[in-house]
């Protein structure tokens, strides 16, 4: 039985309901019971002071790798959902790239059970599109869906064989399953470790050309059109791939897309000095790509911003650049990084909150991501002006691989509520 919680004095920003005003929020039985108006007889068992702060729908992260089962030296469901809660994230989707791969109901159940036991952020597993993500045989997609998978995906393991991919999509379309693509041509990207451009040539690092993404997105979109499947494209890194998505949407295809926050902020110039903490895949690209992604975000082609969280152990990052593993541990800095987009006049605060909550909810077909009366009380209270410093000691994620360690950050989560329960409170 959940508590009666009163959140007082905060600025409630709820893009779904066009709300942006200071008012109290009443939470009862895990739901939003009232906004502004006091409920007769309501006794708050917990009162959270939100004055000077923002009360927003909890964030929904479309891509956060959990590492469990199989890679628990990099992160566990407990450590990573704790990190997510500290980042104001109330729901996250985890790709099927565990070991064993999430291609069976047993693995899906294991992930769901462990996440529930941890009691922090809600985890929605993404099931495998093919068995073992090997790109050969169809996974039991409908069974995975029935077990609780929100979508199916082959992750970044590209399906080289277009006939196999077509059949995967036809089968998924039969049951109206959402297919998530992380499109990248495996041959064009095989040897590369960074964006192929003047900087790669200068650093002497093998490049991943822009066409590694655009060619793959173009092929995948043609098969989406042919099969009529519901599709989402995750973590676009190039301006022209965003353009392809925009064109497909204009044609009426049921296609959505998201972008990782680091692709909206940084370019391949960050790798000067061979900083392995900025080694990500898809790679940080050119300033032109960043500008195109920002435009696509504002224009609505990109409906969500995700962390693309990938926690790593230290050894994975402590090596010469090319020998390091890609990925940033990004759950705990998602908000402060995303707020830079407001500071840099890319989005308004209302638009940003939409990209972090309502946008991803709609991608997944969830009715969360908003604070309407009666909706599930997934809430994030944050102080957009609070300054803080990320340290390894205070990071909840097992993966300390953040390029922001030791740097001053602005914008911090104060409280996170999932299902009307306080799962995180800043110390």
């Amino acid at each position: 039985m959940s508590m009666n919680i009163l959140i007082t004095g905060g600025r409630v920003i709820d893009p779904a309901n066009h709300v942006n005003e200071v008012m109290d929020v009443y939470v009862q039985d895990g739901r939003i019971a009232s906004l502004g108006a006091a409920i007769p007889g309501f006794v708050a068992e917990l009162t959270l002071d939100a004055s000077g702060k923002v009360v927003s729908p909890g964030f929904i992260d479309l891509c956060a790798t959990m590492r469990e089962p199989g890679y628990t030296h990099k992160g566990t469901l407990r450590s990573e959902t704790h990190a997510a809660a500290a980042g104001g994230i109330t729901t996250l989707c985890c790709p099927p790239t565990s070991n064993p791969v999430n291609d069976s109901a047993a693995v899906t159940k294991l992930i769901s059970d462990k996440a529930r036991q941890a009691g922090f952020t809600r985890v929605l597993p993404i099931g495998a599109l093919t068995k073992g993500l090997e790109g050969e045989q169809l996974a039991n997609m409908q069974g995975l869906s029935e077990s609780g998978c929100i979508a199916v995906s082959n992750g970044r393991n590209a399906i080289r064989n277009s006939l196999t991919l077509m059949r995967c999509l036809e089968y998924a379309a039969t049951f109206d399953l959402l297919v998530i693509f992380q499109s990248q041509d495996p041959d064009l990207s095989a040897a590369g470790v960074m964006h192929d451009g003047a900087n790669a040539v200068r650093f002497g690092l093998p490049g991943i050309p822009e066409t590694a993404e655009t060619i793959a997105v173009a092929r995948d979109l043609l098969l989406v059109e042919q099969t009529g499947v519901r599709a989402h494209f995750g973590q676009l890194s190039t301006a022209r791939a965003a353009q392809l998505i925009m064109d497909a949407r204009a044609k009426g295809l049921r296609v959505t897309a998201d972008v990782a926050v680091h692709h909206l902020l940084y370019t391949d110039a960050k790798l000067n000095g061979f900083n392995s903490l900025y080694h990500v895949n898809p790679p940080l690209r050119s300033a032109i790509d960043r500008a195109g992604l920002r435009e696509a975000l504002l224009g609505g082609t990109l409906s969500a911003i995700c962390s693309d969280h990938q926690p790593h152990d230290e050894a994975a990052k402590r090596a010469p650049f090319g020998a390091t593993e890609p990925g940033i541990s990004g759950l705990e800095t998602l908000l402060s990084q995303a707020l830079l987009l407001v500071e840099q006049d890319v989005l308004t605060l209302d638009q940003l909150i939409e990209k972090l909550s309502l946008g991803p909810a709609r991608v997944l077909g969830l009715d969360s991501g908003q604070l309407g009366l009666g909706s599930v009380a997934d809430i994030c209270v944050f102080d957009p002006e609070a300054e803080w410093t990320l340290t390894e000691e205070t990071m909840r994620s097992s993966g300390k691989n953040s390029p922001l360690l030791g740097q001053p950050l602005k914008g911090r989560v104060c409280y996170t509520l999932v299902d009307g329960e306080l799962v995180y409170q800043a110390s």
């Binding site: 192929d196 451009g197 003047a198 790669a200 040539v201 200068r202 650093f203 002497g204 690092l205 093998p206 000067n272 000095g273 061979f274 900083n275 392995s276 903490l277 230290e314 050894a315 990052k317 402590r318 090596a319 010469p320 650049f321 090319g322 020998a323 340290t391 390894e392 000691e393 300390k400 691989n401 953040s402 360690l405 030791g406």
Partner: protein
Amino acid sequence: MSHLTAMSHAAPHQLQLNEQGQLRHFLTTEGLSRELLTDILDTAESFIDSNGRSVKKVPLMRGLTVVNLFFENSTRTRSTFELAAQKLSADILNLNISTSATAKGETLQDTLWNIRAMGADMFVVRHADSGAAHFIAENVTPDVAIINAGDGRHAHPTQAMLDMLTIRRCKGEFGKLKVAIVGDILHSRVARSEIHALNTLGAEEVRLIGPKTLVPDTLQALGANIYRDMKQGLKDVDVIVALRLQKERMNTALLPSESEFFRLYGLNEEKLAYAKPDAIVMHPGPINRGVEIESSVADGEQSRILTQVSNGIAVRMAVMSMAITGQLQQQQDLAKQQGAEG
């Protein structure tokens, strides 16, 4: 211990100098000042006797230990570093890591910490990954002077500087020189280090010649003009550098065949005639006769290939003695600071 927080990421040229602007690691020619590169060349000159050979022996590194860490095989580069260290009176230890520790799964960091514990003052590092020497200098053993003997495709600064010395001894100053580098620039750490050094030393023009698969347009950003044709590219040049063409380039669809490459870009007497009559020919070696260079050119009057090798010892003596001085100075300054604080 908070290792990832401690990882810092300076641009390479900032990393290789101590607080007084002296060399303390030698990782890349990029970003170093003209004065410093000239200083390296002048110091190298001081190690060359009147016969054009490097001097017999000087006591500049007596009592210090140099460890040659070669994660990639190399006979010639390793040998010239070894000779240079001996001539500086250092103790030298050769380790071929490719065949020992890393094969047993030890990380690069553990391997290096172990070797440092043996009392090394300088590491000469060759590694297949771009940025490896930089990574070691910054994050593994910053207190040991690191000399980059080649990292991936990124840099091979001592080779570039011995080429600069060879050019300067043949041509005098750099100001009016046109230099053409021919062949597989994409995979060449030598070419990258040469381009930076030539631009810093004030060469009039650096040209890169080859097909788009080996000389992508993006290389222009390094400060070079790109040519696809040898006749145009070699016109009026003073210096030609031919690069080694690896056989594996044919297997990865970068080139159709050795014979077509030789016909179009191989340096023979006919193509050499497009350059200035007194142009010199260089090659970082080892050469593939009949692939990137014809024997008659490699052994001809305009060739300076063997001069390069002898200059290599003097340049490595210069870089090693300068870097050890700068590094020891840095460690002394750090110790003083810590003493003052403590």
